[in-house]
Amino acid sequence: MTRFIARRLIVTIPVLFGIVFFVFVLARVIPGDPCRAVLGERATDAICNDFIHRYGLDQPIPVQFGLYLGQLASGDLGNSIKHSEPITDLLIQRLPTTVELTIMALIFAIAVGVPLGLISAVRRNSPVDVGTMVFANIGVSMPVFVLGLVLAYVFAIIFKDTPLSLPPSGRLSSGIVVKPLVEVWGWQSLQGPPRAFLDFVSGLYIPTGIITGQWTAAFDAFRHLLLPAIALGTIPLAIIARITRSSLLEVLGLDYIRTARAKGLRERSVIIRHATRNALLPVVTIIGLQLGGLLSGAVLTETVFNLAGVGRTMFEAITGRDYVVIQGFTLIIAVTYLVVNFLVDVSYGFLDPRIRT
């Protein structure tokens, strides 16, 4: 197992290096003068020369890449032009929204998708199965932003003033705040990475609300997150349901299932205890693979539902031509994605010994 992990790591590291290089190159191929792209058209020559010198843009490209690596190694992603604050601070504010949204979407997709897939496989060709598969086909074909807008219309306009009404934008109702952990625990003097970590966790409103007993706020945050999570989770849900179905169907055709049935086990126990366990292996991989799509979808979902997350920040950075933010956030997302894929690979190695060889 250690060798398996080590081998996966060796493959991952060059890719990580490649990602950093790619992001570096992207920022350098921006057409035109980098200074005026960053500081705006009205920057004077003197300011620009100073700018170019300060950021080492007059150095040869390999030297620049070295400087960039050194900057990254010290945890510095640069400063946002528009917000004039470090990218890392911006991340601590904005990333929790995306993390909370993505996790909730994934929970929704798994909690609904796996049972749907299992039922469809067991009741093959029944109305439930046909309905699920038609739904799954439409689900993967619908753009996230269209689904999001439709959901917002249905739950905020059509169901207005009914118990089903849900808020179509923002993270909390006005007047409701989630007190950050440092404030609740009276640790305001805390500094450095521990403080950054606690601030990050405080940005996850639902867990923070539950930990600190701010129930109203936690519930409000949950209600606000429902529609975005459903919009974002529908494509993975459809994919998970399809894979679960075909995987269970395949397993149900295997010899050991026939043996189990021949032993006289009840059908329910054959399916739940014998078949489902093996059928869920490919589902785990698929869940891991959904992450890239979820992160892409988060950009669109946050735009539709006005959530100040990573995606929304990227969107604003694009419209405001804030290249430093685009660069930093792209890098962070790609690295997160890479790390999660690595973890999925490793967990798959744990689940299925045949992979380890």
Partner: protein
């Protein structure tokens, strides 16, 4: 696929096998048409592609026409609800099947013309990806060793980015336009095809018939193109069909986010992005292109699934 593995390459075989390709094609088409999802997909696509091709004939107005300038329509309203005279809409109100948008334009005409953009870009982006992916995958698989390693790690780097974000990053770096969006979507799709071609080259190149053609003195390129590549055709067709659906979704997303240049062009994604804030007052402006995107992607997905079930013998249960 069976024909390529069975037919012996030596002399004389050509004359014998001449009749075969036709029947192979006929078989394939019959297999595809037996798949319900492929038939539904084909049906949807025939209508949608037809509507896009014949948009100038079918559309009542030009996509960027301000209806107030049309004689007899001076009283047309901004973001008017859909109005069809045959369904009891008062004759005094101008007919607009999907209503009008914020600039007094006919949404139905714009949706028809928008199909041209989406489908053409989807095809072109996947075309680029297949050509480049095939070249990269074939070289990597056939050459092996460090060439393979470098090329495939490069592909891993592209795959390491969530595709939409990478496409956004590329478009913002090289300039916001529809053409650059096309290139970006093509680029982020290359690795899938490179991997498919590489793996089928790897599994095919050790076959006896390949050794035989090598012994007969066929050039490496000839072996690759004539003997090995036909094996990757099936997965490429299947993945390509599904890929076009994905590309249509991505172009719509890029346009929605607003990185494809002018928001005035009749493109489904930008139509939605542009009128997004009118959702609560005029949902039809968003629903019409939204349904068009969904049906197009659904068509390609169903056709792709059907092709896979029909062409991949391993799936025949």
């Amino acid at each position: 696929m069976a024909a390529t593995t069975v037919s012996p390459p030596p002399l004389g075989a050509e004359t014998l096998s001449r009749g075969r390709p036709a029947s192979l094609w006929r078989d394939t088409i019959r297999n595809v048409l037996r798949q319900r999802s492929a038939v539904v997909g084909l049906f949807l696509l025939t209508i949608l592609v037809g509507a896009a091709i014949f948009a100038p004939i079918l559309a009542p107005y030009a996509p960027d026409q301000d209806l107030r300038r049309v004689p007899g329509l001076e009283n047309v309203e901004k973001r008017a609800d859909p109005c069809i005279h045959a369904l009891g809409c008062p004759a005094a109100t101008p007919q607009a099947i999907f209503g009008t948008d914020g600039n007094f334009r006919d949404v139905f005409s714009r949706v028809l013309y928008g199909g041209r953009v989406s489908i053409a870009i989807g095809l072109a982006a996947i075309g680029i990806a297949i050509v480049l992916g095939t070249i990269i995958g074939a070289i990597a698989g056939y050459a092996g060793g460090w060439v393979d390693n470098i090329l495939m790690r490069l592909m891993d780097v592209i795959l390491a980015f969530p595709s939409l974000l990478l496409a956004i990053a590329i478009v913002t770096a090289v300039g916001q336009s529809l053409t650059n969006a096309l290139i970006a979507i093509g680029t982020v799709s290359i690795p899938i095809y490179a991997r498919i071609v590489r793996s089928s080259v790897l599994s095919a190149k050790e076959n006896d018939y390949v050794t035989a053609s090598r012994a007969l003195g066929e050039s490496p390129v000839g072996i690759l193109v004539r003997r090995i590549m036909p094996n990757s055709l099936t997965p490429l067709i299947v993945q390509g069909t599904l890929g076009i659906g994905g590309a249509v979704l991505e172009i719509a997303a890029l346009a929605f986010v607003g990185v494809t240049g002018s928001p005035d062009q009749a493109e489904w994604g930008s139509m939605i992005g542009f009128e997004r804030n009118q959702l609560f007052t005029a949902p039809h402006i968003i629903l019409a292109p939204g349904i068009a995107i969904t049906l197009t992607v659904l068509g390609f997905n169903l056709l792709g699934d059907g092709l896979r079930d029909a062409l991949d013998p391993r799936l025949n249960r």
